[in-house]
Symmetry: C2
Subunit: 235 residues, 2 copies
């Protein structure tokens, strides 16, 4: 008879320690092990600092390595190793919480972990959603994300110019996440669509260096990793 | 000298009382007045029941009338009356929390209230985001909403067949909210796009009558108001 521990995928919210849910807090208070990504961008550290005050004093903290590379062999190896680490914890009957900044099912490494684990065993998994960065940015700036019959596109800013154009053309409102890499492309697409003056750029919300800029004209070409753009055609 | 109270737009989450944020709880604990929509669909009542345990014993509860009609004159009149009610509370130096199921800036009546109030005075407003129904549905079913370079479309299911098709064609992943009205249309669009078998229909999550159905074949033509569809082309 095997007794598995439960794996929790916990969204700790966008950065403000109070934007975590009661459910996440109650779960963090009881888990044996806490798992956070050890990424060079440091979002794992931020997630840990939000979760920290809610953890049991004897909770074990493990950093998992999710390399920032496009080399599929390196990625596959890292995910397999991480899944093995997690499986060993759960096999020992311990519960574990994998932390995600924002939401565990919205542009999170949790999906990769789930998939790799799914090939291993009948792991009991529970996902606890979290407030996303774009909801926090909309709240901070007092801008409606989407209303009545409109549609909202949530887009990664790292895609190609064509993809970005196609998605933004079809939606009435949009959020461009990861707006740190291709800002010149994003600027060009929004200018062509006549949206570059009315949109809002939000960077490092709730962190050192927080800034809100209306329009993209004065946005640097290489902003912080924690940057996004909100736009709405009706606004 | 006028002293205005602050208006809080509070997202109380999708229904599970533990999916409310610490920030919402702390704010509810201090406000003088709580405002909830008095809608025939009863989401105001559900929001109130989630907020209830966190309120001051002497907090005043006011139901605002947001009529479910397309008659613009009736709507305008109701919004003006609601804005007047709220303005009078804030003018008296009292703080007020307008409750929204889910998130206050995602398909919420809070946007209408903000706009009508914006024409009145320099109202101090603070928005506290909430977990949306589609995040809760994704978490419950363990389905990734969006990953790496994909885009996510959040769509209202009450639109036309053409609108729905256009948006779903351009995104890699989608959520169709308000899937209670036009289910035959939604089914037809998803069948045509080859997505009607792999999608998931989620209704009344966390409520009496909760159900998850894979594919749309066995979904009733007129499901509950609290219904949505999750789909992902890669899945």
């Amino acid at each position: 008879m095997t007794r598995y521990g439960t794996l929790y995928g916990i969204g700790v919210g966008p950065g403000d320690p109070d934007l975590i849910t009661l459910k996440a807090v109650k779960t963090l208070q009881k888990v044996d092990v806490v798992l956070a990504a050890a990424s060079p961008k440091n979002d794992g550290s931020l997630a840990l600092s939000i979760a920290g005050p809610h953890l049991r004093p004897d909770a074990e903290i493990i950093r998992l390595n999710f390399p920032m590379t496009r080399d599929q062999a390196v990625l596959d190896k890292a995910w397999r190793e991480n899944a093995d680490t997690v499986a060993a914890i759960l096999d020992a009957g311990k519960s574990a919480a994998f932390l995600t900044l924002g939401d565990p099912l919205t542009y999170s490494t949790f999906g990769y972990l789930l998939r790799t684990l799914g090939q291993l065993a009948e792991t009991p998994v529970e996902v606890i959603p979290g407030i996303t960065s774009y909801q926090a940015a909309a709240a901070f700036t007092g801008r409606v994300l989407v209303e009545s019959g409109e549609s909202l596109a949530v887009v990664s800013g790292v895609g190609t110019e064509e993809e970005l154009t196609r998605v933004l053309e079809s939606a009435q409102s949009a959020v461009i996440l990861k707006a740190y890499k291709n800002m010149p492309t994003i600027r060009r697409v929004l200018e062509r669509l006549g949206l570059s003056d009315s949109c809002v750029f939000v960077t490092r919300l709730g962190l050192e260096g927080e800034e809100v800029i209306t329009g993209l004209e004065n946005v640097p070409d290489k902003p912080s990793y924690f940057s996004l753009v909100l736009l709405r055609k009706k606004a």
